[in-house]
């Protein structure tokens, strides 16, 4: 059916449109009717129908057509978009999504999908039927839909002619019809006073498909026929054409609306006014002449002149101007976006990675050769490479907003399912992070959101009893912090039950008893693997269901997760993720003969170990009055050789924790291309990967969070061992 090269585009385009549609629907469901939003829904449905029609996917065309007809009625004010209708349209949206995913798999829609289509179409048509009974009233020439008349332009425009705007769909010729035959047909109902053929849509030679119809008409029409009769002329092309019929003596507001609806881009203001019948060609000519006579002063916009001469009323000109501005804005936005295959970007980033390694090599050779000008030029080069790296990485960065917005739907559905009234508050949607991370964070986030809603937020009566508003709030927040991005999921629910968690953990053998555990430690026990069992749900009133899976997913992204909770006030889950997965600014340190890289973002400061007295072997040092745990990398990685006389401490920070890493030498900043370690090293938590130095040697990258966790874990074992010994 669809050629492969178009299928992809079609599916991507439709999914984007559906996403827009969903967002608009969710807004509509809460807020009252906003014409802009209804238009957005209509446009999405209309475009999907158009694309589906181009590929001849009849079921989708048929289905969207029904939806579109209802939306059109909503737009014209015939039907109110209430919560019930919005809910129906959400179902329509889901069904379209199902159909399009069938198409994406290369299959024709299944029979059961057809069945579903029929049910939904019937529901949609019920709305149309209801509206039709009102229709005769609407279509009588002199009576107008009251909705439109509230506009400021209450004046009646002068013509006693019908005004008909037609924009034909691309398939008209291929369907064996000729736009002009409709014009001739119209000629039988009355006299065509003026007809302007709109040729603005005809593209330049290279892009023009001569079999696609690009034509449109603006017609002033004198007739005694009723609106229904005139309308009936276009029955054969109704589905894919834009048809607007304005009765004689229509209100200015209606003309304004017409101008806004017409798709033309290049049309000059004067032409718009003429073709809309607000102004005759002669009046326009007079205007142009007047404007020419004003020759001395700078060119005045024609709209201004027209208003001054009382030939058109200001609202009409404003509408036309607004339209022109919109066109410009649209063009700007379109020009600013390019769709690029993600694989190409990955390729680019790989190359930049290689470039950095090669650059480091050149740098090294230059320094070894001691040629001053060569060193200088490599310095310039590496600065440029650094910039290239940053902009290449920035290409992969996307705002997290799109991911967050998906949750408005999730929250809506789950709150209906659970019968709880829950608001979603999104902040920090502009925070950017790597595309790969965005894709992979969706599942864990969904899990957390579900958990918070299901088990976190209490039922309305309990909430009121606790003195909280009946409506629960779920917050999604994102921000940048110390080289990582933090995503927070917080709720104002009941919080976690510490005692139950501890009891459960002891029962599962995760901890021997609660001594020495802070509240936070206890809460975070729910992320332990042993915690996720079926009966944990009932015993613990939830939480901990598959939390270990969440943590594992996040750790796979080199991130971490932790949890804060206040009884009866709510809990906050904080996910911390690295900004990028490919290249980082590193800080290189030497231990013995080996080099290690610490992510520069995490380095707070470097101090000499001697200066801060190594009080005991308890692995703590006193850093300006602060207790800082430290660890010798030499010991940690089991490197042979004597310790050097002057050891240095690199103070690193991750989240709220700080630690010191004791090393032999500080080697300075180094751009680091992260290469993954082989399977053999999978068990080693304190290594995040490796990188190749300019000399061709390998340096290991220290995974600071992993190292900290390992140290803490060992400490915990030690403590319990000590406790047990007592």
């Amino acid at each position: 059916m669809i050629p492969d090269e178009y299928l992809q585009t079609f599916v991507v385009e439709c999914s984007e449109l559906l996403e827009q549609m969903e967002q608009a629907l969710l807004i509509v469901e809460q807020a009252a009717e906003d014409p802009e939003i209804i238009n957005a829904i209509f446009r999405a449905a209309h475009t999907i129908k158009g694309s589906a029609g181009m590929f001849g996917i009849e079921p989708i065309v048929e289905f969207t057509h029904a939806a579109e007809s209802v939306l059109d009625r909503v737009r014209s004010g015939g039907i109110a978009m209430d919560a019930v209708l919005a809910a129906l349209f959400i179902e329509v949206h889901d069904h379209l999504q199902a159909m399009i995913s069938r198409v994406a798999e290369g299959n024709q829609p299944f029979p059961e999908i057809d069945e579903r289509s029929k049910i939904l179409i019937a529901q949609l048509e019920a709305y149309l039927g209801e509206a039709k009974t009102e229709q005769p009233e609407q279509s009588a020439p002199a009576v107008h839909q009251p909705k439109l008349e509230r506009e400021p332009g209450d004046t009646v425009a002068g013509t006693d002619l019908w005004h008909i705007s037609l924009r034909f769909g691309p398939e008209v010729f291929r369907n064996g019809m000729d736009p002009f035959s409709f014009v001739r047909c119209l000629g039988k109902l009355g006299a065509i006073v003026e007809l302007v053929t709109i040729i603005d849509a005809i593209p330049a030679a290279a892009d023009m498909d001569p079999e696609t119809c690009y034509l449109g008409f603006e017609i002033s029409f004198s007739s005694d026929a009723g609106k229904a009769d005139i309308d009936a002329v276009f029955n054969f092309v109704r589905s894919d054409c834009l048809i607007r019929i304005l009765p004689p003596h229509s209100k200015i507001g209606e003309y304004q609306r017409l101008i806004q609806e017409l798709p033309e881009q290049e049309m000059r203001l004067g032409e718009i006014l003429v073709s809309c019948g607000t102004l005759t060609a002669e009046e326009l000519n007079t205007m142009l002449r007047l404007q020419a006579q004003h020759g001395g002063e700078p060119q005045r916009p024609i709209g201004e002149v027209l208003v001054e001469q009382h030939l058109v009323s200001p609202p009409v000109v404003e509408a036309a101007l607004e339209k022109q501005q919109q066109v410009k804005d649209n063009k700007r936005n379109e020009a600013n976006l390019i769709r690029v295959d993600a694989d190409k970007l990955d390729g680019l980033i790989n190359l930049v990675g290689e470039l950095i390694i090669a650059g480091a090599g050149t740098n090294l050779i230059a320094r070894r050769a001691g040629m001053a000008d060569l060193i200088e030029s490599t310095a310039t080069l590496s600065r440029l490479v650094e910039e290239v790296r940053d902009s290449a990485l920035a290409l992969r960065m996307v705002p997290i907003g799109a991911t967050f917005n998906r949750f408005s739907r999730v929250v809506r559905d789950i709150s209906k399912e659970l019968g709880k009234d829950i608001d979603l508050v999104i902040s920090g949607a502009d925070t950017e992070l790597d595309k790969t991370v965005v894709e992979k964070i969706g599942d864990p986030l969904t899990h957390l959101v579900r958990n918070s809603m299901d088990h976190g937020i209490e039922a309305a009566d309990l909430r009121i009893a606790r003195g909280k508003p009946a409506k629960g709030t779920l917050k999604l927040n994102a921000y940048h912090d110390a080289g990582s991005i933090v995503i927070e999921v917080s709720d104002d629910g009941g919080g976690l039950n510490k005692d139950k968690i501890l009891a459960k953990a002891i029962e599962r053998g995760l901890v021997s008893d609660g001594t020495g555990l802070s509240d936070k430690d206890i809460y975070n026990l729910i992320f332990e693997p042993g915690f996720s069992t079926a009966d944990a749900v009932s015993n613990l009133s939830g939480r901990g269901v598959g939390m270990d899976v969440v943590r594992r997913n996040i750790q796979a992204l080199r991130g971490s997760v932790d949890l804060d909770s206040v009884p009866e006030r709510g809990s906050t889950i904080r996910i911390r993720l690295p900004l990028t997965l490919a290249i980082i600014d590193g800080f290189m340190v030497g231990v013995g003969n080996a080099a290690y890289v610490v992510p520069l973002d995490m380095v707070v400061e470097c101090v000499e170990l001697q200066a801060w007295v190594d009080s005991s072997d308890g692995h703590y040092l006193n850093l300006r009055g602060e207790v800082l745990p430290y660890r010798r990398l030499r010991e940690h990685f089991g490197i042979d050789g004597e310790a050097v006389a002057r050891e240095n401490v690199v103070v690193v920070r991750y989240g709220e924790r700080k630690a010191g890493l004791v090393v032999d030498k500080l080697l300075g900043e180094f751009q680091t291309v992260i290469k993954p370690l082989g399977k053999l090293f999978r068990g080693e938590k304190s290594l995040g990967g490796f990188t190749i130095l300019g000399s061709g040697e390998v340096a290991l990258i220290v995974d600071v969070p992993g190292l900290m966790a390992q140290v803490e874990h060992e400490k915990l074992i030690e403590q319990t061992a000590v406790a047990a010994a007592r």
């Binding site: 010729f173 002009f180 001739r184 039988k188 053929t197 005809i202 330049a204 023009m208 119809c213 034509l215």
Partner: protein, 108 residues
């Protein structure tokens, strides 16, 4: 379709015969654009056009616009009655700017 034949007696003149409709526009597009790129001045003889529809009309519009873009002179000549009829109906005579004999049929 069968009776369509394109004469090319002179290089800078193309005559379209028979249909200038949805059935022929695809071929004609290439022919006319080729003619336009080969010559700095081109005359399109429409005297033998027997059938003319919206697709034909928009093709002529496109060719005309292309000629303007390329800065070449393109004239349509000898409009047959069907061509005149549709150009008149469309109100595009001014756009094409070729001298033509306007015969507005009396209103029915």
């Amino acid at each position: 379709m069968v009776n369509r034949r394109t004469k090319n007696q002179q290089n800078n003149r193309i005559a379209i015969e028979g249909e200038l409709t949805i059935y022929t526009v695809l071929e004609l597009k290439d022919k006319l654009l080729a003619g336009l790129s080969d010559n700095s001045e081109l005359e399109l003889d429409l005297s033998e056009v027997g059938e003319f529809d919206g697709a034909g009309l928009q093709l002529l519009v496109m060719v005309k616009q292309q000629a303007t873009t390329l800065g070449k002179a393109l004239r349509f000549t000898g409009h047959s009655s069907v061509v005149l009829d549709l150009i008149d109906l469309s109100g595009l005579a001014g756009f094409f700017g070729d001298p033509l004999l306007i015969v507005r049929p009396s209103t029915q």
